[in-house]
């Protein structure tokens, strides 16, 4: 989503971002074997520069201060030659990373805090209330969202579910899992256990399908097709004690000692086909809503921990204690100095950096972190005071 920003917006964002990298450059996390990573820097014009290489963290931070990108990415892969085109880089393995994004969670509350910004007249309104801009009638609309506490709680539940899969099923020790708030609408879960690094994308796709709960066969819990009696039950040698077999049997209320019960259940559902569908529903419901494309891509660049997210001005940050983690507080690292913005949505309530804000006026003085958040979300524009007239100068949108 590219939201139209004015020159004044871009100026303010760049000041805020440069200030952050200048004062808090120590927050930027150095990836292991930094010299073997491909970096990507996205400018505020939306243009991404890829195939970059930095041999030290100091060099990277200096570049961030100098270039002030809106987003900073580093490859999960390590390469012999990170600056060459993909086919010539010499792939040497890639960290296993999972992405959990709010868009995949079907949260019911989302419509109530999603906003549409008109790219023609710069006005904003609650998304879904109108098809086209109520002010100018334009259909040139961009959507943005301010996640609420319920959204964060939903995301955390998914992350905890993923942790359980990774530790109990896949056998990854908890200290080898790094969970990061992405800085906008999701979490990135990094597996630090290097034995997963050399898995190719097909192997990762199989692992992603396991975690998503896709592709289950009823045979896995011992129910197979029988030409005479529709189905036949023979529990697998390993029983139903672990992994998906346990999850499904717990949900169905069956065990290896309740063959009759399972048989009745299949008959009650209407036969083998219906039972298969039921099992697939259970796995889809109990699986984790990860973005499988992210997990299977072994040449992707990911937002670098400790850098700012250009869609919000919040930082991608490590969550040491997920339960108590508050993304609206801990990841909000920009300064408190005041800036003036014109809010394009009437009556906006939100919480950021431990403060509650009730924005009822069109022109408001707000802390930098809030100003950047609203501008990044397309819900406000930066304005400045004309020293001659004492009036606010509202710049026109840049194309």
């Amino acid at each position: 989503m590219i939201l139209t920003k004015t020159g004044e917006d871009l100026h303010l964002l760049k000041i805020a971002f440069r200030e952050f990298y200048f004062n808090q450059g120590n927050m930027v996390e150095e990836p292991s074997k930094i010299q073997n990573r491909e970096f990507g820097l996205m400018g505020f014009d939306g243009v991404m520069k890829r195939h970059l290489m930095f041999s030290s963290l100091g060099g990277l931070v200096a570049s961030l201060i100098f270039e002030t990108p809106s987003d900073v990415f580093a490859s999960n892969a390590q390469y012999d030659f990170p600056t060459l085109p993909i086919s010539e880089k010499g792939w040497r393995g890639a960290e296993l990373i999972f992405d959990i994004d709010l868009k995949d969670l079907d949260m019911k509350c989302i419509r109530s805090h999603s906003y549409a910004s008109c790219l023609s007249c710069s006005s904003s309104y609650v998304s879904g209330s109108q098809e086209s801009c109520p002010k100018c009638g334009s259909n040139n609309i961009a959507e943005s969202m301010l996640p609420c506490d319920r959204c964060v709680s939903g995301l955390k539940n998914e992350v905890l579910k993923l942790h359980r899969f990774l530790t109990s099923d896949i056998g990854i020790r908890p200290e080898m899992i790094g969970t990061y708030f992405s800085g906008n609408n999701g979490f990135h879960v990094h597996v630090l256990d290097e034995s997963f690094n050399d898995l190719d994308s097909r192997a990762r796709a199989d692992l992603a399908a396991y975690i998503l709960g896709v592709g289950i066969l009823a045979d896995a819990i011992g129910v197979t097709k029988d030409t005479r009696n529709d189905f036949r039950i023979r529990f697998p040698i390993g029983g139903l004690d672990h992994g998906w077999r346990k999850r499904i049997s717990d949900r169905l209320g069956i065990s290896v000692s309740s063959q009759k019960r399972l048989s009745n259940l299949i008959k009650d559902l209407g036969g083998l086909e219906q039972f298969r569908r039921r099992v697939a529903e259970i796995t889809r419901d109990m699986g984790v809503r990860i973005d499988s494309q992210v997990t299977t891509d072994v040449h992707r660049v990911f937002r670098l921990p400790g850098t700012l997210n250009g869609k919000s001005g919040l930082t991608k940050i490590l969550c040491t204690d997920l339960n108590s983690f508050d993304p609206f507080d801990e990841s909000c690292q920009l300064s408190n100095r005041e800036v003036t913005v014109r809010v394009t949505i009437p009556k906006l309530k939100l919480r950021l950096k431990g403060e509650r804000f009730n924005l009822n006026e069109e022109f408001v003085r707000v802390p930098m972190f809030l100003g950047v958040y609203l501008i990044s979300k397309g819900l406000a524009h930066a304005v400045r005071l004309d020293p001659g007239t004492g009036r606010f100068i509202v710049p026109a949108s840049t194309p």
Binding site: D169, G171, A203, L207, A209, Y210, G213, I237, W244
Partner: protein, 346 residues
Amino acid sequence: MNIRLGNADLARYPFLNEAAEYMSQTYFNLDDLNLPELRHIVERASNRIRNEIIHGKPDYSLERHEVEILTFLVGILIIKAINSDNLTKKHCLCEALRAEKFLVHDLKMQGELANKKLLVFKVFKELLKMDILPSLKYQLMFEVKVTDYLKRSHLFHEQEWKLINRLVHDGRVFLDPDETVRLIRSELANLLFERIGQMNPSHIPTTIREQANILRSILPVAPRRLDHAPSAYPPCINHALDQMAAGENLPHSARVMLATYMLAIGKNIEEIVSLFENAPDYNERISRYQVEHLAGERGSHVRYLVPSCAKLRNDGLCFATSQCEGLINPVQFGRAVKSYSKKVSV
């Protein structure tokens, strides 16, 4: 793991380093193969390869270790002398299938002979860098690391090999002896193929060269493609044909795709069966039965349809290009190309 191998073990697993060590201790010389005393070994190896060419089946017979180790070695020398990539692949697959049978047998050993399993663990560890452990919880089940499993299981397109359909716990996948060994079949074959490629004998003895010449004369001619312009085939079919031409061991699902597609575009059973001639495990009788089954001439008398593009994508058999846009089944590709050519010619 320090395991002492008996001679009988070397007979079953002649590709292990210990077998090579045994040979070096016997002061064996390549020219010894020209001696009449070793004539039966050369013929045995030659017959084994002949059987592989004609029937596509491995030889499971087991002689004493001296015979087996030498037969294995002579077999490789003959293959090397014939110098055909397709035959080398076929031979390696047969050797892997042969080893697979013994590995499964050893893994199933119980009681006093249970220490045979240690030998299998050695094969897995030394050759394939893969740990397997007997399960303490489930009798006759083995545990492999999830990562080791994932690296190999994606070679199988059957849904039952997907991780979700396995018993997984604490970083381990539980497999029965057949599944454990099946997991590494193609890897073992590839390993043997690599080894043969790296092997550089000082010279080929005359008897070996003679046998190689005889066997070369019964090799099937290079597989022919059907009389269809390659561009008329969708990329998934072209890919499968290329794989087949290279002597690769196509998975069952790819063979079903190929056969059903050829049936759908009106090719006859003969033509389709001949397509599979180059498969390392080719068996004319079985191939014919399966193609006839897919054509609805056998079994349930149901004619099988070409799998959909979605199914092929799921099975990793799709190699879509821009020409595939909007198609939901590979059979539409030919029609799309035909209608396009018609338009162009008008």
